[in-house]
């Protein structure tokens, strides 16, 4: 479908990205993913499908994991965004990053930024006692066993099939 003849609409927004205040001008059509990658040059978050189906674009939006490809940048004005570039504390990797290294949680690495941000979100959700679709009693606060990890990470696909390492890494990071 061709774009109509209407001119693009631009908007000024403010985001906190990996701890720094960033002012940017975006086309209202731009996704948060495009704003991060194209406007801010943060190419860690990847564009796998651009339809919410693969998780390669996962970032932490106001502390919660989200697919940046489905979020309009303009709608996130005022939000806090953490990308894979912001997970480490300087040279010190986060526990999730360390665990992915220790357990070979990747092969080609394309899905990895999304896996790392998603796993970071999973640990926070589990720490708050959130149940999942495989939790037998949703009123309980389930321990993060392998079945729970697999279900909670199911929004992140890996074409290389590094799933065994990913599950082991999340299991270790959860300890």
């Amino acid at each position: 479908m061709v774009s109509g003849s209407a001119p693009p609409v631009r908007a000024n927004i403010v985001l906190t990205v990996n701890g720094s205040l960033r002012r940017l001008t975006v086309d209202t059509r731009a996704s948060l993913l495009d704003a991060l990658r194209e406007t801010l040059g943060l190419t860690g978050a990847k564009k796998g499908c651009d339809h919410g189906q693969c998780g390669a674009c996962t970032v932490l939006l106001d502390g919660r994991r989200a697919n940046a490809c489905l979020a309009l940048a303009v709608a996130q004005d005022g939000s806090d965004v953490v990308t894979v570039e912001g997970l480490a504390d300087g040279e010190r990797l986060s526990p999730v990053q360390e665990a992915f290294l220790a357990h070979d949680g990747y092969q080609c690495g394309y899905c990895t930024p999304g896996q790392l941000c998603s796993a970071t979100g999973v640990l926070r959700e589990a720490a708050r006692g959130w149940p999942s679709a495989v939790t037998a009693d949703v009123a309980s606060e389930p321990p993060l066993d392998d079945a729970e990890i697999r279900e909670r990470m199911s929004g992140n696909l890996c074409r290389c099939g590094a799933y065994q390492g990913i599950v082991a890494a999340v299991r270790e990071a959860a300890r």
Binding site: M1, S3, G4, A6, P7, P8, V9, A11, D27, T28, R29, S31, D50, H51, G52, G55, T58, L61, R64, R65, A66, N67, L70, A71, L72, V74, A75, D77, S118, G121, V122, E125, R128, G129, W130, P131, S132, A133, T135, D137, V138, A139, R150, E151, R152, M153, S154, G155, N156
Partner: protein, 325 residues
């Protein structure tokens, strides 16, 4: 994508005022942004309603809920009161999409998400829902995942929401704000059959704003959401069932049965419920009740399997509850 203006509404009133003929409300955007990218939705203006102050869940003493339309799906499923009083609802929400999407998606947007019919999503194909009068290629085409109950020759699409199936079993209602005031609409009247106008998924008029979902007091019977899909997680339902069962002295006193993946709307299985009340709580009764519902099925060339699947899912879900009871 067509350029569009973006505005953030600060109140329901403000949202209604900002909504023009070529506008659409924006929730989490997880469905609408995708459809805009595909060229299926072409609004000239988005009115963002995700930050309206409808982000709380009110709990009544009897377990009743008032869920704000801007509550995120994940927060609904994580709410302790919801998990205690309406586990069926938490299960259905958790059965949908992924952790990321549930963090973004709002309750209002979940209810009004559009069908996943592949022709609807492909602007190079005809589709009565997207472009009225162009025809429905799914009737004789790729229809494995289409409706088996209450289909129309004009559209055989299914409604994709898991949450809406549980809410249908729970007799939930939506609060709708419009220029003339507020209506409270039962889900059974919110969703509609395709008939000869499949372009409308619901009975809402353009500009109507959902502000909340009301759930009546807790069901005093065990309940369960069962979903069958092509892979273990992160896929839409082929068939799903929200069931509840009240058994006393081996007899079914009361029950609730709603189905997903079988019709243009979340499907309340009234025939099955009527067939089951007063019957012995046995697998044979559950199956007979399921068959009573599915007797009306009109499968297409590729989806007769759903009739068997729906009978089996209902039977197994009820049998699972019968054991708890």
């Amino acid at each position: 994508m067509r350029p569009f203006a973006y505005e953030r509404a600060v109140s329901a009133e403000d949202a209604l005022n900002r909504h023009t003929d070529d506008a659409q409300y924006l929730g989490g955007g997880t469905n609408l942004v995708d459809l805009m990218r595909l060229g299926v939705a072409t609004p000239a203006r988005l009115v963002d309603v995700a930050r309206l102050p409808y982000d709380r869940i009110e709990h009544r003493a009897d377990g009743g809920l008032v869920i704000g339309a801007a509550v995120r799906n994940s927060d609904l499923a994580a709410d302790l009161g919801v998990r205690d009083d309406h586990p069926l609802l938490a299960q259905a929400v958790l059965a949908g999409a992924s952790g990321q999407i549930r963090n973004q998606a709002t309750v209002g947007g979940n209810l009004l998400q559009r069908t996943r019919c592949p022709y609807f999503q492909d602007v190079t194909k005809p589709c009565n829902k997207r472009e009225p009068g162009t025809g429905c290629p799914a009737v004789h085409g790729d229809n494995e995942n289409m409706a088996i109950l209450d289909p129309s020759p004009h559209c055989v699409a299914t409604h994709p929401s898991d949450m809406a199936v549980a809410l249908t079993a729970l007799d939930a209602r939506v609060r709708v704000r419009h220029s003339g005031g507020e209506d409270v609409v039962p889900l059974a009247r919110l969703y509609r059959s395709p008939g000869d106008d499949p372009s409308r998924d619901t009975t809402l008029r353009p500009g109507d704003l959902i502000t909340a979902v009301e759930v009546p007091g807790r069901l005093d019977m065990p309940a369960r959401y069962r979903k069958v899909r092509e892979r273990a997680s992160f896929a839409f339902a082929l068939v799903s069932a929200a069931v509840a069962l009240d058994v006393a002295d081996g007899t079914v006193r009361d029950c609730r049965i709603a189905l997903g993946g079988v019709a243009h709307r979340p499907w309340r299985a009234h025939r099955a419920e009527d067939a089951l009340r007063g019957r012995p709580a046995t697998e044979a009764s559950y199956r007979a009740a399921a068959e009573a519902e599915l007797a009306a099925a009109e499968p297409l060339s590729g989806n007769a399997y759903k009739v068997t699947l729906a009978v089996n899912v209902i039977t197994a879900a009820l049998a699972g509850l019968g054991e708890d009871a």
